[in-house]
């Protein structure tokens, strides 16, 4: 058998108080697509960072084609033929695609500090050709669609080929989390094409995807590799069981906890709502109902969601809450009306990273921690601690900066933000499970069900069609800024993703 | 913040309590309250000489400090040089810091940044019993004669100098034609007086027409741009340029040179900085008015030194000498040679001679 392209032996990494990697072993064979699965905190990110030289391991070794190596930086890793497509896209938005592709290793495109644009365009084109992308290399990156940017990113990583004579190792960290189904298909086609000349490590929270595109999956748990599965014939549940260490519940979406919607006056009633990117939107959400809005990029569903939170201006239409017409000139007005919003971009729009868990949790509903006009430290402590317990948020304490928590726990704090005052009547959830692992997702789902049971109406922009179908009582399909159709989605009568996709395009 | 907050609150409430208990007072307690006031004469070697000007980076004020140094050296002392970058608050801060030290034999020769800065300096010096001589800027209703240790205020008659150079300019352009005026920093007495002088001159020389007036803030660079703009605005109508100081006049000269008008437009200024005197001598500038920086720097300290050492009794200084215009001369091509190399004359600083250059009481 040939020497593996990449091998990791007994890698250990300590962070203060945490053992992120506890002797991980990993073998990546040449020209295979290896899936890496594991819950948040299983050590995936740390392992990947170690592989591209961003984290120095405390013990253990990394072997590239049998040779032990020490990777000190991204450049070092690239010299050994290892490159990574980062979860948060790592492109400079105000440079051209070509510049991003050659960034850091311009080679002949820059001679003595002077750019040779034609050479650069050619170099970039070569990379883009490899993956069959037809993006204009000289387009500014921030004018490209998200999926196109992902392509640019892959093209950029493939530049490492030029540094070594051997086939490169390309790491894709959560590449699908923000892609639309069609874009995912394109990406998978690219990955299969990549396999012809490269080795791929693929990381995703969506186990079906992992099984779909990978040849083999290694499962991490608690900083160790706990198993390896050949994907042919494997089912997600088996992987899931290995990831969490026990048999996962079949009821991922907690469907049996779904409340029966009693037909009564709707909690939210939208009539003829129009804005810059959407027109004439009308729908109702009853108390305790979860309504999902699905649609491709550019369907306008995000903007509808933001308009309902007063974060996007509207030009016409009426919004009623519990029968009373409300005006939403600002996000503050929406808050006062009992509307809560969990934005998709958690790190930018959701949380205030350097501020504490307690401050983040009470940011929207200050009233909950006040006595008169003053902050009551005891009241705040009791309140925050109780929500930390109720949502089992894993944090060293309420005063820990939220940026030190894992993604799932951060998201729980953001959700708790709307619950602490107990006055939320409508929740707008924009990709609430983006970037969360299965365990954390499941907890968010459970929470949504619990809230629905108390009568909270929910508008959900799902991370995937499956999620929308699994959680929603009703689904609105949006295309080109309009509601194309409405699909009932009761327990036991769920539509299939295919049916929805047909409506979406 | 919580940790910091508690002691702060305590300190706050304590200090408030203390205030209620003890009431307020005019002056900080402690230190020496002996208002010297000329009672006990100081040993010459114990006198502390302080000279304060805006900055050391212009020729006029540099020569002021040099004059102060020369005087200090003549009596075996050194001058403490203070500069405040034309920053009123910084000047006050420095003064109050100086006055917080030993003020028994302190002599200060100060150039207040503007009229408004004089009162607090005077008040502070008076309370601390420091000898003070101020120059140039002072509000009219504030009079040294009302104070014990504010020995004198020296200035030049800005109206007179503004008028003198205005007249010289009028003569140079043959009594008729358009001129432009470059004003100094608008809220200073010097700028206002000098401009008032120009207006007087214009009343007399009816043929001369003031085409435009702009502020160039006593700055050579600003004068350059403003002059260039005014030259294009008024074109050939400009026969002369009146500048409220020499720096601006020199800036205007550069502008004329760049516009190819060198020698065709008459320029006048005030202050007699070396470059301007040279220019007058060469004929590129028409006239300037002397104000002798090094003499000002020396004589202010000398008056204070004489008073501190008891050679000059404050009560005995003639009332007219407590606030006076110093002699100034119109410098034209004829007499420029005499002013080309200003020297300090130690004799000027003898206690008997310090008021020799009094041209008249302040009006």
């Amino acid at each position: 058998m040939s020497v593996p392209a990449l091998e990791v032996r007994g890698l250990v990494k300590h962070y203060p108080g945490v053992k992120a990697l506890d002797g991980v072993d990993l073998v990546v064979r040449r020209n295979e697509v290896l899936g890496l699965a594991g819950e948040n905190g299983a050590g995936k990110s740390t392992l990947l960072k170690a592989l591209v030289g961003l984290v120095a391991p405390d013990a253990g070794s990394i072997h590239v084609r049998g040779e032990p190596v020490r990777l000190r930086s991204v450049v070092d890793a690239a010299d050994h033929g290892i490159g990574m497509v980062f979860q948060e896209q790592s492109l400079v938005p105000n440079l051209t695609a070509a510049e991003n592709i050659v960034l850091g290793s311009e080679g002949p495109a820059v001679r003595r500090g002077v750019y040779r644009w034609e050479v650069m365009r050619r170099l970039a084109q070569e990379q883009l050709d490899k993956i069959g992308s037809r993006i204009d290399p000289l387009a500014r990156t921030d004018s490209l669609s998200f999926a196109d940017r992902q392509m640019v990113e892959i093209a950029k990583v493939l530049r490492i080929e030029e540094r070594t004579q051997h086939p490169p190792v390309v790491i894709l960290d959560e590449p699908t989390s923000v892609l639309e189904p069609k874009e995912i298909d394109t990406l998978f086609a690219q990955i299969r094409r990549l396999r012809e000349f490269a080795t791929v490590i693929f990381v995703s929270h969506r186990l079906d995807e992992v099984l779909d595109v990978c040849d083999r999956v290694t499962v991490l748990r608690g900083g160790r590799s706990v198993g390896e599965v050949a994907t042919a014939g494997a089912v997600p549940r088996e992987l899931h069981r290995m990831m969490i260490g026990s048999t996962g519940s079949d009821d991922h979406y907690h469907e049996n906890a779904a409340t029966t919607v009693v037909s009564e006056e709707p909690r939210l009633s939208v009539r003829g709502l129009s804005g810059a990117t959407f027109r004439d939107i009308s729908f109702d959400v009853a108390r305790g109902e979860i309504v999902a809005i699905v649609g491709v990029h550019g369907s306008g569903r995000e903007d509808v969601c933001r308009a309902l939170f007063g974060a996007e201006p509207t030009t016409a239409g009426e919004i009623r809450m519990d029968g009373r017409t409300i005006e939403l000139p600002s996000t503050r007005a929406a808050c006062a009306a009992g509307i809560g919003y969990v934005p998709a971009e958690r790190k930018i729009e959701g949380m205030v990273g350097p501020m504490s868990v307690a401050e983040n949790m009470t940011l929207a509903k200050q009233r909950a921690r006040l006595a008169g006009p003053f902050v009551a430290p005891r009241k705040q402590a009791t309140l925050v601690d109780s929500w930390i317990r109720r949502l089992s948020i894993r944090t060293p304490g309420r005063d820990t900066p939220i940026q030190r928590l894992s993604g799932g726990n951060q998201q729980k704090v953001i959700l708790a933000r709307w619950l602490v005052a107990g006055d939320v009547r409508l929740l707008l959830l924009d990709h609430p499970t983006r970037g969360l692992d299965i365990g954390a997702r499941s907890e968010v789902y459970r929470l949504m069900r619990e809230l629905a049971a108390t009568g909270v109406a929910t508008v959900l922009l799902g991370d995937s069609l499956e999620e929308a179908i699994g959680m929603a009582d009703r689904i609105l399909v949006m295309t080109d800024g309009r509601v194309a159709t409405e699909v009932a989605c009761p327990n036991g009568g769920k539509p299939s993703p295919l049916d929805l996709v047909k409506e979406m395009v | 913040m919580n940790i910091v907050l508690r002691p702060a609150a305590v300190i706050m409430s304590l200090s408030l309590a203390a205030a209620v208990l003890s009431g307020c007072s005019e002056q900080a307690a402690g230190g020496n309250d002996t208002a010297a006031g000329g009672e006990a004469a100081c040993e010459p070697s114990a006198v502390r000489l302080v000279g304060q000007v805006r900055n050391e980076s212009n020729p006029y004020e540099a020569s002021w400090l040099a004059g102060g140094d020369a005087f200090a050296k003549s009596v075996g002392l050194t001058q403490e040089r203070l500069t405040y970058d034309g920053d009123s608050t910084k000047q006050q801060e420095q003064i109050s810091q100086i006055l917080a030290g030993d003020t028994k034999c302190l002599v200060m020769n100060v150039l207040p940044n503007g009229d408004s800065d004089t009162a607090p300096i005077v008040k502070g010096a008076d309370q601390a019993g420091a000898y003070l001589v101020t120059q140039w800027n002072k509000p009219a209703d504030l009079k040294p004669a009302d104070y014990k240790t504010w020995l004198s205020h020296i200035t030049y008659n800005g109206v007179e100098s503004g008028q003198q150079i205005g007249d010289a300019l009028a003569t140079a352009i043959g009594g008729s034609g358009g001129i432009i005026a470059l004003q100094g920093v608008l809220d200073t007495a010097a700028a206002k007086d000098r401009f008032a002088g120009l207006q007087k001159s214009l009343e007399k020389n009816t043929g001369v027409k003031l085409l435009d007036q702009q502020a160039a803030n006593f700055s050579r660079a600003e004068a350059l741009t403003v002059t260039k703009t005014l030259l294009t605005k008024h074109g050939d109508k400009v026969k002369g340029i009146w500048a409220a100081n020499d720096d601006m006049a020199l800036g205007a000269l550069e502008a004329l040179q760049q516009a190819g008008l060198a020698g065709k437009v008459a320029v006048v200024g005030i202050d007699a900085v070396p470059d301007a005197v040279t220019a007058v001598k060469n004929g590129t500038m028409t006239a300037t008015v002397s104000s002798d920086g090094s003499w000002q720097g020396g004589v202010g300290l000398a008056i204070g030194f004489c008073a501190a050492t008891g050679k000059l009794k404050v009560e005995e200084i003639a009332k007219d000498n407590r606030a006076f215009f110093a002699e100034q001369f119109l410098i034209t091509k004829d007499n420029a040679g005499e002013f080309a190399a200003p020297k300090t004359n130690p004799a000027d600083f003898e206690c008997g001679n310090v008021f020799n250059r009094v041209a008249g009481p302040l009006t």
């Binding site: - | 212009n58 050579r220 020199l250």
Partner: protein
């Protein structure tokens, strides 16, 4: 002055971007036409040449500051660096203080001194992690101190005909200094468009952490950008000296804020990653047209500063309003 994370949630539409780019030139034309209508002297060819001449020094300073602003940093060291360079050059070329007569070499030394100051600011930023606002403010004070030391009480007047000639001699109706400034703008544009330094400065303003992730060592480029800016200030100090015929400590007074104003009015963002030399050149002209126009139409000197401030705010507002968004971050 913050860096937004790479993938801004809502992209600028391309139309919005072009709006921003078109705003300042349109404002320039409008302001010019307004003054031209109000004052016949303003629209004379002489005055237009005068405006362009007067813009020379500010243009050079703004060239330097633009690169720093593109990175998202700020530079307040122009005043000090120009003062030091003005004194240096006036003491090195033929002058009344000493027997030096180094001519062009003197100019080169002054520019190099500017580089050194810029380099120090940059080093303070990357090594000591002092925000550029403070690092350059401190450097400005140091520059003024050095200049005052060299001044030593006597104004150095230059007699070097070559240096003085730069301000006096004309080519095609504009002074040599103006052509030098035009050259600087061209060089600046080339640097910004065609060199790694320029493109990286732009990229640092866009997403600094991405550069680091791509294995680019950002720090040397930051220092280099400040050094380049210092060179421009050094040259500007020489130009002021040539105009005034003397080395003044105050040579750079006020240029720091005017240059930032010019750059921002031209459409360069203080947060970095947007704008450039072309924008700044338009901004410089806009500021100069305003200054000149207000004098030409006879606005009282008391009010000139205020009216200028008002128009600058209005110009920026006019450029910004078409692309206002409700949830926009403005610092």
């Amino acid at each position: 002055m913050t860096s937004e994370v790479v993938n801004a949630p809502r992209r600028q539409s391309r139309r919005g971007a072009s709006f921003r780019d078109a705003g300042p030139p349109v404002a320039l034309i409008v302001v010019f036409l307004v003054f031209a209508a109000l004052s016949p002297q303003f629209r004379s060819l002489d005055n237009v040449a005068n405006i362009v001449d007067a813009a020379a020094v500010l243009a050079v300073v703004t060239c330097g500051i633009t690169f720093v602003l593109m990175m998202g940093s700020i530079d307040l060291s122009a005043a000090g660096v120009m003062g030091a360079s003005a004194l240096t050059v006036s003491l090195l070329v033929a002058n009344n203080r000493n027997d030096n007569d180094f001519g062009l070499l003197g100019i080169a030394v002054a520019v190099l001194l500017g580089c050194a100051f810029g380099c120090l600011s940059g080093l303070a930023l990357v090594l000591l992690k002092v925000p550029s606002f403070m690092a350059t403010l401190g450097m400005s004070a140091v520059g003024l101190g050095v200049a005052t030391l060299m001044f030593a009480g006597v104004q150095p007047n230059i007699s070097d005909t070559m240096v003085k000639g730069l301000a006096i001699e004309r080519f095609l109706g504009l002074s040599y200094l103006t052509w030098i400034a035009a050259g600087c703008v061209l060089v600046g544009w080339l640097v910004q468009r065609y060199t790694r330094l320029g493109r990286y400065a732009f990229a640092i303003g866009g997403a600094e952490e991405v550069l680091a992730l791509s294995g680019v060592k950002v720090k040397p480029y930051k220092v280099a950008v400040f050094t380049l800016a210092g060179a421009f200030y050094g040259l500007a100090g020489v130009m002021v000296t040539s105009q005034l015929g003397a080395g003044l400590v105050q040579a750079g007074d006020g240029y720091d804020f005017s240059a930032i104003t010019a750059a921002v009015v031209g459409g360069t963002l203080l947060t970095g990653g947007r704008g450039g030399i072309g924008h700044s050149a338009v901004g410089v002209l806009l500021v100069m047209v305003l200054t000149n126009g207000l004098v030409q139409v006879g606005v009282s000197p008391y009010w000139q500063g205020g009216v200028e401030g008002l128009i600058v705010v209005a110009a920026v507002a006019a450029a910004v309003i078409p692309q206002r968004r409700r949830n926009q971050v403005v610092k």
